[in-house]
Amino acid sequence: MEKERFYYDNKIVKMFLIATVVWGVVAMLVGLMVAFLFIFPNYMEGISWLSFGRLRPLHTNAAIFAFVGNSIFVGIYYSMQRLLKARMFSDVLSKIHFWGWQLIIVAAAITLPLGYTSSKEYAELEWPIDIAITVIWVIMGINMIGTILKRRQRHIYVAIWFYLATLVTIAILHIFNNLEIPVSAFKSYSIYAGVQDAMVQWWYGHNAVAFFLTTPVLGLMYYFVPKVANRPVYSYRLSIIHFWSLIFIYIWAGPHHLLYTALPEWAQNLGTVFSIMLIFPSWGGMINGLLTLRGAWDKVREDPILKFFVVAITGYGMSTFEGPMLSFKNLNAIGHYTDWIIAHVHIGTLAWNGFMAAGILYWLAGKLWKTELYSKKLANIHFWIGTLGILFYALPLYVAGFMQASMWKQFNPDGTLLYGNFLETVTEIMPMYAMRAFGGTLYLTGFLLLAYNIVKTARAGSTVEDELAEAMPLKKITSSRVQGEAVHSWLERRTVLFTILVTVAVIIGGAVEIVPLLLVDSNIPKITSVKPYTPLELEGRDLYIREGCNNCHSQMIRPFRSEVERYGEYSKAGEFVYDHPFLWGSRRTGPDLHRIGGKYNDNWHFNHMLDPRLTSPGSIMPQYPWLLKDDLDISKTVAKINAMVILGVPYTQFDLDKAVYLLKNQAAEIEKNLRQDPEYVKNYGAANMQDKEIIALIAYLQRLGTDIKADQSAQN
């Protein structure tokens, strides 16, 4: 048979490579801005779109979907073509994927600072962008599967299985977690409420880490580490076992994000068991990656690219050891809500994702521009600065996490809390935050060196965008097994069947989590005193979401003596049945707010929002002066309540008809309360405060966690 000549599309790889570098700088820069807000809370004073609650989702989304996302696409588009001996299925689809993805990132970078958010972590983007993501993802899928179908290589290498698992699972996760009822072009409510919403969210959150930050990058590891070291993967058998067990187990482990919460006990236990099992496939993969370098350790000394890979894979090993450990309930009780988690995820992103990306980018820069890397020395410096950066980032935060958790739990002999004021536990760890910002600066500096190095390489190199290749076309052979062919080898050439099996594996794990979720409704003890939010409180809740308060404040008091003593009665599942979406939060930079209602008077909240340091000296919370200036938008109040009715929240016809009237009444009431303070009357007495946003937020905060108190007083 005659060999066929064809061209690999290098242009699309270059485009994604440039995007990775650009978004990498942006993501890390925003991260640094956020890190500095901890030390200098006032430095972006009064600029609403640069406040912490809005920038933090921008940072996480940019790091995950823009930086790591584009870096994955770089590797996929390069390795798929070569592993399959075929040009990508369609240049047009490749381009649509590229530009579509970049547009989505730009849309995120605009909407998140403006406060358009669904509040669900790593899924904050509002519904029109969610739809765009789905469309672009499907286009990428068609392009990938099309390429596989026109391949000239019979067997599909392990890297591509990981890409396929990513394709299928992310699609499922994204769609189910983002089912929402739109209220307007940029506002929607999750169709799930409270406990159910929490469970779907962390099924998504956990598996987004698995199938966006882990599986595709493992695929890249299985291609690029052997390629750069010029030796085959340590054990191909191990890679098959790694693949199937990883995708099968990962998806079951989501509930470990909700230990000690109001989630049913058995669902928590299931999450713990599978999280601990997960350590085996994860470490199998790490060992496979590291041992690929057996007999080539001398090369690791010379080659900065291999150095990046070694630290990346080690980082993968560390975070996949730490993950299961954090799933033990006793360790989780310490780590949850503290900076330990922040340190943990940054080992994953900075070491595993960031360094894998760096190694691949350096290697590809030489290949794509057909020249030597501009400076190996600079790459080495990047490696060392970056590694130091990771250590300076993570170690102080581990210390901070431990310190703060133990301060939260210490009691005086008389039974009162030793650190009764939450703020004391924050001011104690400020030096750690300073060191973290220093670590982040180092890491960004290293990455800027990479950007410079790659620009220089590209300038010196050739601009040829297509690469000639030759390969034999595939002979048709029977779709059943040929004699002597092992079952898995046979499976590796049956792409469609393979993809279906992957989907089944993922769906079984998903179903095990989703079925309890469907049943959860019947497992939640109803609390009769829990009522829907009033129109003003609902508007206030949307402001809480817009400002991203849930990024620093949890609304979930765990059943520990120390938490009940500090915050009040622990949270019950039945209290959240009207919470579309749930706002439990995952980190306590500030105190829990679930029982904040009635704890302080309205004036306290008013002054606290104006400047947190007026009421709480030393606080690192941002100021919210715009809440006092901007009128509350009540044009959508009725539509919002209507959406809630569709979701099954029992508002009456009266509530709907009189929504605005009820809202204004309650606002006037709160304004009247504020007037008890002569200072307020002097400064804001003529400011028509009842029309401002602050009133709605106060209404919501004062309502939080009070329903159950009504129940108790009724019983007494």
């Binding site: 060999k3 690999y8 390795s79 070569r82 592993l83 001996k85 290589q153 019979r154 067997h155 290498y157 392990v158 890297a159 089912l179 169709i191 799930y192 299985y222 291609y223 052997p226 390629k227 010029n230 030796r231 085959p232 993967v233 191909y236 058998r237 098959i240 076992i241 199937w244 067990s245 099968f248 187990i249 058995w266 299931l270 690469e467 000639l468 290749a469 030759e470 390969a471 034999m472 595939l474 002979k475 052979i477 002597g484 062919e485 092992a486 079952v487 898995h488 080898s489 590796e492 594996a505 079984i508 794990g509 179903a511 095990v512 079925v515 469907l518 049943l519 409704d521 019947s522 099954g648």
Partner: protein, 63 residues
């Protein structure tokens, strides 16, 4: 959307056994996979492991 189907699932009797079935299923899948993986001939394994190292211009066909 989901609320249209969830109440049907509420009424399944003995649904608690669901996780146990899944676990058994998982165990079976896992051991079957191990069995087939270790049965793969060495030559086959080597060829597959060498896929990324194929030179772009040279043709190695594995048929």
């Amino acid at each position: 959307m989901l609320r249209y189907i969830k109440h049907h699932l509420d009424t399944i009797t003995g649904v608690e056994i669901y996780p146990i079935i899944s676990l058994i299923l998982f165990f079976l899948v896992f051991t079957t996979m191990l069995f087939f993986v270790f049965k793969m001939p060495k030559k086959n394994i080597e060829e597959l492991g060498n896929l990324p190292l194929d030179n772009d211009i040279k043709n190695n066909s594995h048929e």
